[in-house]
Amino acid sequence: MTATIPPRSLPVSDHAVRRFEDIRDLLPDVNNPTPLVRVRNSLVVDNVYLKLEWLNPFGSIKDRAAQYLVQGMIERGALDNRELVEASSGNTAIALAAMGAINDTKVTITIPDGVPEETKTILRMLGAEVWETPDELCPVDHPKDGAIALARSLAASEGGTRYVMADQYENPDNVKAHFETTGPEIWSQTEGQISAFFAGFGTCGTLTGTGRYLKEQNPDIRVIAIEPYAGHRLPGLKSFAEANEPGNLDRSVIDEVVKVHDDDAYAMTLRLHRRDGLMVGLSTGAIAHAIDQHDSLGDGLIVGVSPDASTKYTSYFTERLGSEGLPS
């Protein structure tokens, strides 16, 4: 007997039965939030929840920003007859490339040195052009963010007629995405019981947008930023000792900055895999380590962002693991 799917009168995605008419209907909002999952075994404190952003349709928290960035560009007509260019270490690039594929928009990504091959391959699979860029590309003024400088020069070249830059670092649509989605989701999912929110320094859309929303609901919520050290290898995170601060950073919503070493982030990432079955990426490890080290977070719920999963960094983890887990 052949199973048949009952006909539908309207092609409307149904979140209750999780049947969707378009991949973009999976993009999150307060009615379709990414999961908030308790960390039961890996941390000293037990009231910690991670927001699993890697369960977004294109695999990371950057789906939110990409959606708002693209929508804003479409509404302004900025994408009319132009290609999209963006500087990204991976997640925004993947989300933009996926949306570009759906919209038939050519996407070029300027990507910093050291991004794992997995990410670059996924981008090329999605049809994007990938320009690997050394951080110190400019030989004279050394802006430290060669990929950003290159994307800006592409957008400005040829009279600005060929490329438009999404500019996740400066474009306020990035902040708006988190103010309108991540913040309300967390407030709703914790039923207002959140006392501290942790996220990493990067484009700062998550910190500024989510932090601003949460502070508007309850000014006592502590917003804590995680920053790696200069020379780090934690994808998606930025050390402002070596990178320029983005326009999307609003330090007025941040109560504290916690610095995390690469080795501590890796150790915590491994622990989250092995004790909680949470297959998170390194930036989550950095954030969870900062939570674990903190001793004054109040009695409410603590929420940390888990920006992406470990699957995009297997080459890095293979290098770190060495022969561990192989028969001797």
Binding site: C138, P139, V140, A149, L150, S153, S157, E158, G159
Partner: protein
């Protein structure tokens, strides 16, 4: 001229970056030089005045030899000989 060289080297390849702003010409020049052999000469045409500072610095840092700079105001032309190990 940045080097007193009585033997004029013919460009192996020409790269025209007209209309491109820094650091795009630097990036494109790096890609072009990667495809050349040591001793080959890249003729690089730029229209961004910033290239007058960037390209000599790029050549020096990359171990290349800047054979010639021709600044015509709206256009700058560089002859770059690919160095060893780059």
């Amino acid at each position: 001229m940045t080097r007193d060289d009585t033997i004029q080297k013919e460009p192996t390849e020409t790269l025209d970056t007209s209309g491109m702003l820094c650091p795009l010409p630097v990036y494109k020049a790096g890609l072009a030089l990667k495809g050349l052999e040591q001793g080959d000469v890249l003729r690089l045409v730029c229209t961004d005045p910033g290239s007058l500072a960037d390209i000599p610095a790029f050549a020096r840092q990359g171990g290349h030899v800047l054979l010639e700079v021709d600044d015509q105001g709206s256009t700058q032309t560089f002859l770059i000989e690919k160095g060893p190990g780059s």
